[in-house]
Each structure stands twice: as C-alpha cells, then as structure tokens.
C-alpha cells in the first residue's frame, strides 16, 4: 500500500531522516516508537507531504507521490492524519467538523455527510456532543472527534502522530480504545506513540526509529521481548548507563566511586546494590591492574541500569593481550575473583576485537 525508499529529510544543516526504507501493507497496524527527536513525526508528515522530503521516493498503491505528474490532493485523500493537538476547527461544532470535508472535498450532500457524521460520532461514543464546540469538549473527546473527522473522509490509511501525548492520563484510554477498535475492523494505520503497551498489543509490526533510520523493525514480540540491536534494547528496557574510561594504572578510585554512587542515587538503587556495584568495580580494576602484562592500560567500565527489569549490569572491557582472571592460576590469590563470582550472576567472558570483555549482573540478594 505504502512503500518508502531511501527517504531523507533535512532541515537546513540538520538531518532528521537519513535513509528510511519501509513498507506498510493493507490492513497492517504499524507502531512507530523511539526516543524523542529521532524523526518519527517527520517520517509520518513526509508520508502525506506535510513535509516535503529532501530525497527518496514514496509510493502509494504503486504511484510515486513525489513524481511531478502525481495527483497529490487525490493521493492525500487516501491518507487521514490525526495530530497530537487535535487541530479541530474551533468555530465549528463537532458535527460540522465532520461534515465540512466530505461536503467540500468529496462532493457529498449535507444530508449524506450529516448522516455519516452522526454514525461516526456514535462510533467514537460522542453522538450526544454533536452540537458542542471544541472548547466545550475534554481533550479525550476532542481527539475522538478528530479521529471521527478523519474517518469521515473515508481514508484508506490513518496516520496518528502521538495521538495521546497531549492528553491527561485519565483520557488516554478512551482514545486508545477507539484506535484499538479501528485496528480490529482492519483499518490500515501507522501510529507514532509512546504508549508501549498499546504498541505491543495492537500492532502487527513495530518500527523502532533512531539515527534517522528505521533502526529495527519486527513483530511486537521481537521488539519488546527480544530486541536484536543494542539501541532498541536500551530504549525498550529503559536502560540508563554510566561509562567510565580508565587510561592510567594510577586511576582515581575515589572519583570512580563518586560517579557510581551518584548514578545509583539517581536511580534510587538500594544501598546494598550500590555497595555491590562499588565492590565489583574495585575488584575488577584491582584484577586488571595485577594482570596487566602489556604497557597499555585501557579499561572501559559501563554500568547499565534497566528500569524495566530492575537490574544493574556491569561491563568491563580492557585492551591488550588475552587475559581471563577467572581461569586457574592467573592471579596470586582468588580473593577478588571469589568476591566477583559471589556478588554477580550471568558472568561472561568474551574476547572481542582484541579486547577482553567481562559482563555480569549485580546480584540483588
């Protein structure tokens, strides 16, 4: 239905979309997720040419809408758009908001349009508000009118640009319920959203956008349960991390401890977890110092806290020769390694790109 190839968009010097390739098939519900500022809304706005792409091609039912000969208004009619800020006509009633488009653009009679509008208002649960002006409606009601208005134009696909972001939390569910119903009825939709439960439950596919591309796409189960790429994993698990680069054997343990304590405090981690993290880092550094066989001393420590899993992961990477202190007879004593083994779980050693990499999860109990 929609095929996007090599889509790019720059605003002056700023590249928002670098190379977007995607396909949306009839009847699919696509959720577009990702951190703020990664081009999700711009991508949606490019699809119906509210933003003119800087490069690439967009095909709707096989027609390139960026081609000069394309009938853009007609192609646009196939796509409805629901905005974060509703964009209702303030001087028209809810009913009039729904009838103006069909009358003026689709050539419907006022009677036909009015009948259809009432059906749609009933469908979104707002028939009794037909005569109300937008100012007299709550945020959730306004957005439901906006969705009904969009449906009145009989679109083949609806693009939702963060439809619940401007709503009070109490009103989010009423709007999502309407979108869920449309999904059930087979409407093709692309939804930019921060509502992860909604994206997981309703979508056929999820696009995770980052770095100006669709960084990872897949069924909700893959994206939410088993993301394949690092940035998706960080986003989905709401991971916050602290990285510390050590380039000298006379490293400042006080400064490192200070950063770890600050990180743990920021994420309200219990004192025992904080102490374990401090001890794991200290022991790892001591072991690396003792086992340093080359002149190069280069260690990168990363502490990552996953809010979703409530777990703290530590990764230590060192440059230089192969060095695995957990092998027998590598160190003068086993005190450090015993402490590490007992305070962590899922410990792994890997030799990656001429670096020694240890990863472990800080034990909770």
């Amino acid at each position: 239905m929609i095929k996007v190839e090599h889509l790019s968009k720059q605003f002056g010097e700023l590249t928002v979309l670098r190379e977007v390739n995607a396909e949306i098939k009839k009847g699919e519900v696509i959720s577009i997720i990702g951190p703020s500022g990664t081009g999700k809304s711009t991508f949606l706005r490019c699809l119906n040419l509210l933003e003119m792409p800087s490069g690439g091609r967009i095909f709707i039912d096989g027609t390139d809408i960026l081609d000069k000969s394309a009938d853009v208004p007609k192609l646009r009619q196939k796509m409805g758009m629901v905005f974060q800020s509703f964009n209702l006509f303030a001087h028209l009633t809810a009913l009039e908001n729904l009838t103006i488009g069909p009358v003026k653009l689709l050539g419907r009679s006022k009677e036909q349009a009015g009948k259809k509008a009432m059906e749609l208002l009933k469908m979104v649960g707002l028939a009794e508000k037909a005569g109300s002006f937008p100012d007299e409606l709550s945020g959730g009601q306004k957005q439901r009118v906006a969705i009904a208005r969009c449906l009145a134009m009989e679109p083949e696909i609806i693009l939702f640009d963060e439809p619940t972001s401007a709503l009070d939390p109490t009103m989010v569910s009423e709007v999502l319920a309407v979108i869920r119903r449309l999904a059930k009825e087979g409407m093709t939709m692309a939804v930019v959203t921060h509502e992860m439960d909604f994206a997981r439950d309703v979508s056929n596919r999820v696009f995770y956008m980052d770095e100006g591309i669709i960084y990872e796409e897949g069924p909700p189960q893959q994206i939410f349960e088993n993301p394949q790429k690092e940035k998706t994993r960080v986003f989905i698990n709401r991971v916050r991390s602290l990285t510390y680069h050590i380039r000298n054997q006379n490293y400042d343990l006080y400064a490192i401890n200070g950063e770890i304590e600050h990180f743990c405090e920021k994420h309200v981690l219990p004192k025992t977890t904080r102490n374990k993290a401090l001890l794991l880092v200290e022991e790892l550094l001591a072991i690396f110092s003792a086992g340093q066989v080359t002149r190069q001393f280069e260690i990168d420590l990363t502490l990552s806290y996953s809010e979703k899993r409530d777990s703290l992961e530590l990764v230590a990477e060192s440059a230089g020769d192969y060095f695995n202190p957990f092998e027998e007879n590598t160190l003068p004593d086993q005190l450090g390694t015993t402490i590490i083994k007992n305070l962590s779980e899922n410990m792994e050693y890997q030799r990656v790109s001429d670096r020694n990499r240890f990863s472990m999860t800080v034990k909770k109990q």
């Binding site: 343990l253 025992t272 001890l279 200290e282 550094l285 005190l335 007992n342």
Partner: protein
C-alpha cells in the same frame, strides 16, 4: 577511614570506621603494624562502624592473622555489619577467623 587503637592488658582492640578498600588498606596496615610488633596476645578487630570492605582490606587482615599466629597470638573479628559481614563470609574468612557479636564476648573468649 578512621582507626582507633585501644590497648588492654591481654588484648588490643582496633576499631575501624568507614571504608577499608584499595585506597585505605595501606594506612590500615600501617596502623595495625604497630600493634603487631612483638605482640603475642589477641587483637580484636571491631568492625561495628565499618561500612565497606574489599579484597585489599581482606588481604591486610589475612597478613595480620598469619603474623600474629606465628608469634602465638590470635586475631578475631567482632560486630560485623550487613555488607561487611557478607563479604567476609563469601570470601570464606569466617572459616578461619573467629567472629564475635561484640568486643566483650571477643575479649572473654579464650
């Protein structure tokens, strides 16, 4: 870290407060060295105010225990708090070092 040394007739109490880690272990070792000189008695490490210990601290304790025992003396620990106690136990130090609830019980144990 703060270290206070209290000498009694048959034993010495070394009270450590704060953190016993890579940075503070050398200072702790120096302070304790004075107690070890010619000592044949008992040294009680009172860790009631110790909040954190790493393998660097454990090595100091191990070294002190070895020296004392070689001279017929002994090293005992008391008043361990949560995290310090956990580290001492997972390191297996509770197997070869007597641990007491407080200074009084450590002092009266032969």
């Amino acid at each position: 870290m703060e270290i206070t040394v209290q000498k009694e007739s048959h034993y010495v109490v070394v009270k450590a407060a704060g953190r016993l880690d890579t940075n503070t272990a050398p200072g702790f070792e120096r302070e304790c060295a004075a107690c070890l000189t010619g000592s044949k008695g008992k040294i009680i490490l009172d860790f009631s105010k110790l909040e954190y210990i790493s393998s660097a601290g454990l090595r100091c304790i191990l070294s002190m225990a070895k020296k004392l025992r070689a001279n017929g003396g002994d090293l005992v620990l008391c008043s361990l708090s949560g995290f310090v106690e956990e580290v001492i136990r997972i390191s297996g130090f509770d197997i070869f070092l007597p641990i007491f609830a407080d200074v009084a019980s450590a002092a009266h144990e032969n």
